[in-house]
Subunit: 351 residues, 2 copies
């Protein structure tokens, strides 16, 4: 029996996603996803929002990140296991689904390990577009793991940086990142300390993965007029910035209910003022007010960003045919006759 | 490029699931899943539990149902759209995932439209094994849709019923169910009213799908000494039983925090006493106390049941090879070098 069209859900594998990125162009795709995120943040109030649902263990976390508007539903499955790297596994793997709110039927299943790297970079660059000092040209990239190149290229494409200063506790990670950025047009400066990396940078991105309260940036390291893009602190007990940095900065977040649990601001009182980024994008709240201000995008990643990325991929996967039809849904001739479908699928008996 | 073993997740399609059910035998598989559920309910306190996360619209609901123990994580995606049937679509479709808590890596992706029918039937029969009057032989099956045959066969296999009395507002549904149950050894009695269907039944199963507060069983219809298995009322505003039935019954539930929102008991005060079924299974709470008692299993379906069903399928799918390796996870040679994996996947340039 061949499954009917109603039974099939387009699936974008890792291989398909890589082909799609090469077909579209990495920076073009990051820009396209950033446009989708910006559109969706502009209509923030139309979304059904909830903090992600996490299952924690000693060594990591598995999370579900759902959201919906009137027409579409999306969720992402994502794990975070910093110790995986030592075992030859990814710290973060992810996949996601887009569905039709009217029928509840899935429209797209997609790998999201790569896609999360793209949408996180797109989100960081979108925030920096609104918050970084005007004319920012140099970014310090602290933490040179799996996300780092995507962050650098997104900032190049959307914000116009031309120089990145790289630092990681592991020099091999820095060497890997520097090698990968060769030929991108970015001036790449490997650095041996975090202090060295931030010299002259208008944007400082931290993306480290320890599952603990770390101090990647101490209070005395951060001077006026920088934009901090803190993306590594993203679950309870996992932060990157000294509290003194936070209290001197104007803090911007995605979804406060989630960020207060997971972000850098878990270190601050629950009523510490923060600005929701969507309000900056819609013009309801100010972004950067002056050149000397320290702005902080305390990013933990929110479900709407995945929603935006998935709707971008749905269109592209359809247009390019880069997907596999997956026999995911039962589709009996009579929808009430699931049992009959099963019976008719019985292997033929030998007469 | 061929994805590495670490990139691949076994996927059980609808077709594979049907083949698996025929290979194992439907009633044997329901019994096997019921054994897994019983094992997991015995260690209820070891699970990380949360009410499911629902996105409601005017016409339906999409839900995520996660749970985890120390070693495994599972979640199910499931929708409920009663109006789908009229459009040739399933009211309920589902798929699910089992993952390794130690790495966060998925172990199995599976269709769960069929599997949910099996696990729901297994759960109903497991509850009836503990709660139905001794020697129950006859079940009224009210609502003869996609779940009905599975319910009847599970009660036959686990509880020993020999007769089912069928009723549905649509006589075609009853005719379909009766035809499907031919040759199963059950005596099948189609009935023209709910009142007629419940005559002489020791077990009454209600499984109707309207998204509203309906009264499938009114107070005067339910006499002493029956077990009610109410599975159709499973979201806010969707119930099947008159409140008077509830107050006369001893009520058993899966997970009170979820059932008080979604089950029949949403009609009762929030402090109305209920017994958790796992406590009956472990012997910590009494089940049926006497022959004249009315017992009610107010079932809404809980994540642990899907966890149990998925771990059953993982073993069987491995043993039978009935699965497809899905290229779901990125697996770079160096886990920190996601970007390098992407770069190396670029299509070769023509020289």
């Amino acid at each position: 029996m061949t499954p009917s069209a109603k039974a099939l859900v387009p699936f974008v594998s890792v291989d398909h996603m890589m082909q799609l990125i090469h077909r579209v162009g990495l920076q073009q795709m990051i820009t396209g996803i950033a446009e989708c995120i910006e559109e969706d943040f502009r209509r923030w109030e139309q979304f059904d929002k909830t903090p992600r649902v996490a299952a924690h263990s000693e060594v990591g976390v598995i999370e579900l990140m759902p959201t919906a508007d009137e027409t579409h539903y999306a969720f992402k499955y994502v794990n975070g296991h910093p110790k995986n790297t030592a075992e030859g596994l990814q710290t973060v793997t992810a996949f996601g689904l887009l569905a039709d709110m009217d029928t509840g039927y899935p429209l797209l299943l997609s790998e999201m390990t790569l896609l999360t790297a793209l949408r996180t970079a797109a989100m960081s660059a979108l925030a920096a577009k609104y918050l970084a000092p005007k004319g920012a040209r140099c970014m310090a990239m602290i933490g040179n793991g799996a996300q780092s190149e995507f962050q650098c290229l997104a900032m190049q494409a959307l914000v116009g940086i031309d120089t990145v200063r790289l630092y990681d506790t592991d020099p091999r990670a820095t060497a890997k990142c520097a090698a990968n950025l060769r030929g991108t047009g970015l001036t790449v400066i490997p650095c041996t300390t975090a202090q060295h990396a931030i010299e002259g940078a208008q944007i400082i991105t931290t993306c480290t993965a320890d599952k603990k309260n770390a101090t990647i940036l101490s209070d005395n390291m951060v001077g006026p007029g920088v934009h901090l893009n803190a993306i590594g602190g993203d679950c309870p007990g996992k932060t990157e910035l000294a509290p003194g940095v936070l209290t001197r900065a104007e803090i911007f977040v995605e979804y406060p209910a989630q960020t207060r649990i997971e972000g850098e601001i878990q270190q601050l009182p629950a009523d510490h003022p923060v600005t929701e980024l969507w309000q900056v994008i819609t013009g309801q709240a100010p972004g950067r007010r002056d050149a000397r201000q320290i702005t902080l995008f305390d990013s933990v990643g929110f479900a709407i960003e995945d929603f935006s990325a998935l709707r971008y991929v749905l269109t592209k996967a359809r247009d390019t045919g880069l997907n596999l039809p997956l026999d995911l849904l039962a589709d009996p001739d009579d929808p009430r006759d699931l049992f009959g479908m099963l019976t008719r699928a019985a292997p033929a008996r030998v007469a």
